[in-house]
Symmetry: C2
Subunit: 408 residues, 2 copies
């Protein structure tokens, strides 16, 4: 499907990091450039562009003008600083082409479509510049207040509301339709499809995640003459905790995923023992009991090892993301469509967060994965073969058609 | 000596961090304010102010106008971000008062002084904003080229030369005298004097230091779905290396000091496994063989542990500071003076770097320590009792008098 590949190439050039990847942080010039191109593509394809107050962008196809109901399809155009070109953009651009194709199919088959259709680009899915992530979809779902979303600040103290104003994407009104279903197509970012040599995953739910941010309080001191026994070294305690996280997960051998990926150190001078360190930790597993048991063992061990160094630990943030079960009818539909198209499909749970997980608080959602080579993502070498992209697009389009034409 | 204590209080207010400490990084407004006050104090006390091209500041007393020879006394007014009020400022301000007092003593005892005397504030001793440290004293000693010093850049890319211009302390000419000796009075920053209940240390030399900056190269990837076995986590490798450093030093039990105090992580996003991490490590001991053996064991172990994680280590910097022996005649003189004044003196080696260690490349130096409570330094709670400060001042003044009046 060369039109899809060409569109993906065009968007990959925006915020290109020169190594195959992209850096399109929310509210930056690269984000604006991607949004501007997306508006042009929506309009040129005869869809109606809409921008809501949190900057979510819609391209609406009026398949059934008498209906207020709308099926939505999309993902996000923002990226991590070391983002790949598929993560998010694939779902938005495949969604755009699917909406256009189904608009044409509805015209060719009058009377079949019972509801309208829109492609969407959600604001700040990644949470790289502004936390929390999934911002636009959470506001749309009603789980995050608009004013709270506007007030999120980046590392330089700039608020998300101001950043949206600066690029001209703070819209003035809500989408005027009644959303009834949401479908998201995404690269898996893991290697389960690849290992099973399958084409498609219908996602049935999400792993449990616990995100913990710990602060290690020691005491600043000269790195040279300060007697070793008198030091209270916050960076050493943090280093022990990082290794403790991974080794507890390995020791369990229960298949949990874990990471410590962000650290801040004060004063971070080569000549001053760190007085205060903060580290962001996370543990994920499909079973909540494993997440709790492992994370609690990690916390106890870190506490004990820090105390042995005279360092105090406190929890600055402790976020639990509970198991999510997605609409089973949607899972069945994706399997039927994949089967009808002759593709091999699995049912998987998602390990990563996606806008679909925010939207399912409001309406039923379907999340569809295609394979990621070697499970690599948030990396410029993230890759999915053109043929695999096309298969995802075919499943997406047929799934959406059945949704807009279904009797109920 | 209330004049000394009052002066120290006045300087501690400049760049005060509100918790007893100071933050006076080189070339900042706080540095300018401290320098401005120092110039005023020099002038008001009838000394001749001089600024050299690297911003070293002198206050000269012409005790013997026919001589080109000058004895120098001083330290530094810059600080760490979490600096105490004694580190550096004590040596400069005690030196200022000593020069003033000896100028008066020379007037009262005509014909006794054989050479001139100057107090000095060396630029950027700490190396907190600009690396390397000991910048002004190294330029003065001839071991660092002026142009290289000017070119040192801070974290924002601002060059030291431009920073000195900005605060008006890039002088136009070298000091017009011939330096013959340098004396520096400093707080110990360790606890050896306190444990020995001694008043004064005559410093006979410096520990060997090896400073290593290691870069850990892994691969960016999504913290969630990326299969654990496929990850190449640079932060985990760095954490292991930090713990390896300390545990190798403890295992040796040879009395070495070690630290890892600065880290930089890319991309440092909570959702992206770190692809590249740099950590600054150091090991210090009086015996070079211990430093080499321990640091090499640390490097081997870190390499092995990183390789097990698929992470590559490379050495970005590897700085050896060799053993330094200070002028033995100076050590003897300090001991004689302390004895004559009824004080208990030790001979120690310094663990920390000091301007005296840079200056000894050009002329003989004497380095004198007074106790630091609990050995705490680079910390707002750094403390030396007023009485202990006075004892150091008394030894300093008498040592300088004997130097300027000695026959040779």
């Amino acid at each position: 499907m060369s039109e899809l590949h060409d569109l993906m190439t065009a968007f990959a050039a925006i915020g290109s990091t020169g190594d195959g990847g992209v850096c399109r942080l929310t509210g930056t010039p690269a984000d604006k450039q991607a949004r501007d191109l997306f508006v042009r593509e929506i309009s040129q394809r005869g869809l109606l562009p809409r921008i809501d107050p949190i900057g979510n962008m819609f391209g609406v196809a009026m398949l059934m003008p008498a209906s207020q109901d709308i099926v939505m399809v999309g993902s996000h155009l923002d990226s991590q600083p070391t983002g790949g070109r598929f993560d998010g953009a694939y779902g938005v651009l495949a969604g755009l082409l699917a909406v256009q194709a189904l608009r044409d199919r509805a015209i060719a088959n009058p009377g079949q479509a019972r509801r309208n259709l829109a492609v969407v680009n959600w604001t700040n899915e990644e949470g790289a510049r502004f936390q929390p992530s999934l911002t636009g979809s959470s506001v749309f779902a009603g789980s995050l207040a608009l004013e709270d979303a506007y007030a999120c600040r980046d590392g330089d103290g700039i608020a998300l509301g101001a950043a949206l104003d600066a690029i001209g994407y703070r819209g003035s009104s809500e989408l005027e339709f009644r959303p009834v279903r949401y479908v998201e197509l995404h690269v898996e970012q893991g290697d389960r499809l690849e290992r099973a040599a399958a084409d498609i995953a219908a996602v049935s739910g999400a792993w449990v995640t616990r995100k913990m941010s710990l602060v290690f309080e020691g005491e600043v001191a000269h790195t040279g003459p300060t007697p070793m026994a008198r030091r209270r070294d916050a960076l050493r305690a943090a280093a022990r905790a990082i290794e403790a996280l991974y080794s507890e997960v390995e020791h369990d051998n229960a298949g949990a995923h874990a990471a410590a990926a962000r650290i801040s150190v004060f004063p971070n001078s080569p000549n001053v023992i760190a007085g205060r360190v903060r580290v962001w930790f996370e543990i994920r597993h499909h079973n909540e009991a494993v997440v709790l048991a492992t994370s609690n063992r990690f916390l106890e061990r870190s506490q004990k090892e820090a105390n042995a160094l005279g360092v105090e630990i406190s929890m600055a943030a402790d976020e639990h993301r509970e198991t999510i079960l997605l609409d089973p009818a949607g899972v069945d539909l994706v399997h039927r469509v994949a089967g009808d198209l002759g593709m091999k499909a699995l049912t998987l749970q998602t390990v990563a967060g996606h806008d679909a997980l925010a939207i399912q608080r409001r309406i039923p959602v379907s999340l569809i994965f295609v394979p990621s080579e070697a499970g690599l993502s948030h990396n410029p070498r993230e890759f999915t073969a053109p043929d695999a992209l096309d298969k995802g697009y075919a499943v997406l389009t047929e799934t959406l058609w059945r949704m807009v034409t279904a009797a109920s």
